[in-house]
Symmetry: C2
Amino acid sequence: MEPRFPGEPLGLIAGGGRLPRIVAEAARAHGFRPVVVRIADAEGDDWDGFAGGYYSWGRTGDAIRFLKRSGVLRVVACGTVSKRPDFRAIVPSFATLLKLPAAFAIVRGGDDRLLRAAARFLENEGLEPMAVQDVEPKLLAPAGRIAGREPGTSEERALALAHRAAVALGRLDVGQAVVASQERVIALEAAEGTREMLHRVADLRARNRLGRGETLALVKAAKPQQDERFDLPSIGVSTIVEADAAGVRAIGVSAGRSLVIDYDAVAAAARDAGIAVLGLAPDGLPDEASRPAASAGSTA
Amino acid sequence: MEPRFPGEPLGLIAGGGRLPRIVAEAARAHGFRPVVVRIADAEGDDWDGFAGGYYSWGRTGDAIRFLKRSGVLRVVACGTVSKRPDFRAIVPSFATLLKLPAAFAIVRGGDDRLLRAAARFLENEGLEPMAVQDVEPKLLAPAGRIAGREPGTSEERALALAHRAAVALGRLDVGQAVVASQERVIALEAAEGTREMLHRVADLRARNRLGRGETLALVKAAKPQQDERFDLPSIGVSTIVEADAAGVRAIGVSAGRSLVIDYDAVAAAARDAGIAVLGLAPDGLPDEASRPAASAGSTA
C-alpha cells in the first residue's frame, strides 16, 4: 500500500505492545506521515517523534476529530487492549456525548476485541480502516517452517490437536490460542489472553499436573469467520519466551492469516529456545503449497 | 440398584472429594457392603469403617486382585484425579508388570478423565462398571430451578452463552466448565479444572479486567457423546462458594446428566450467596418438561 500523495497522513489507532510501533515505522518508510492516536494499554508508551497523543475511552470523539483535522482518510488499528472500557465510569466530554450511543453499541457487542469494533466505528465516521499487512505485508506468517527446527512426530500430533481446538474456539468467537499435548488439550484462552494462559501452563507443569511424556504445542489460529483486516492472531519474541517457560516445544500459527511481529528476533528466540515455529494451513498441517507470496519467510 | 444378595460387596474406586463417601454411604444404606480402593487424590482421605486401602498407580494389579478376592462383581468409579500418573516413574510390582501394557494404553488415551478409562480396564477384568446414579439416583440434577432464586434476564443470556460454549468444548473432549457474561466467554476449563478456572475469573475481576455491567454465569455441561456411567459433571458446596468468590451469579448444569453433590448443603449455600442454580435442557434453556423422574429436586 502506497501513499496517495507524498506525506499522506495515515491514522494509527495504537494499543499496547510492539506491533503499533512496527507499523508506524513501516508506514513512515513507505512515505506516509503517521498520526498516532494512543488508546488503552498504550497510555504510558513512548511515541516521541510521532504526531498524536493518548485518548481515554471517554475522549473517543476528540480522537476522531483530531484524526480528521490532521487530514487522515485511512486508519490502521492494532495493538493490545487488555481492559474493557467501562462506560458507566466515563465522564463524557461534549464531543463524546454526541457520539456515545454509537460507541456504546459497539463496545457492548461481543468479545473483548475492541479494536475491530473501534475500526468499524471509524468507518461510520468516514475514515477507511486498513489492515496492518496492507502497510507491511512481511508481517504475515508464511506456511511451513517459520523459525527454529523441524517438529518431531509427537510435536506434530500436539500441533494438530491444538489447531483443531483453536479453530473450534474461534468459531465460538472466543480466544485464539490453545495449548495441547499429543494426548489432550491443556489450556484454552478466553478473556485472560495468551500470556496468562501460558503462565497457567507453566504453573500446571511446575505442580506435576502434566505427564512427563506430554509434548506441548501452542497454536494461535485465525477464526474461520475472521475479518482479516482486524485482530489477526500474532506471535512475537515474548510469545516464544513465555511458551518456552511453559515447556512448549512447538508453536503453530495460521499461515497467511496471522502476524509474526519482528521476524528476525522471533527467529533468534526460537533458535535459542529450540522451539519449532510453523505456519499451519487451514487443515492443520504445514503446507508448503499454501505459502503466500508476501511472507515473513522472505525476510529470513 | 439393589444388591443381588444381602451384603453383596460393591467395589468403589474412589478419587478425591466428597462424592465417593456419599456413594459409599448410599451403597451401604441400600444393603451393599462397600469395598473401597482409594486412588490418586484420595491418598490421605479418612475411610475408617470401610474395607479397602490406598493403591498407587503402580499397584493397579494389586487393587484389582484385592477387589476380586473380596468377591466384588460390580464397581463404581468416582471422585477427583488431579494428577496424571507417570508410568515412567513407577517401580512396578510383579502384578502390575503383567498388566502394564493394558494400563498404559488406557492412560495414554485421551483427556485427563482417567476414572472412565480405569473403569473400562476393570470391565476387561470381568468387573462390571456401574454409575454413581445407579447407586444414588437423587444425585442427578433435575431440570429447571435446582436451588437459589430465579435467574434474571442478563443471567439467562450469560447461561445460554456459557452453555453453548461448554457443549462445543465437550464435543472436543476437553473441559466441561465455562464462565461467560451476557456478552462474551470469560474462561474455559481444560486441564486446570473448575476450581482453578473460577480462581482465574476471580483474579480477572479483581484486576478490573471485566466490565462492571458483565453478569457472570458458570455452566458445567455433559459432553454430547458422554458415557453417562462415568465422569458426569458435578457441582457441590465448594462449587457454589468458589463461583460466588468469582462473582458468578448463576450456575447451570446439564439436567439429568450431571450430579448435585450434597443437595441440601448446595441449596443452603446457593441461598446464602444469592446465586441461581439451574438444570439446563440440551437446548440450553431450563425445561420443566425434561425434568427426570428421579431427581435431586425431590429431596428439596
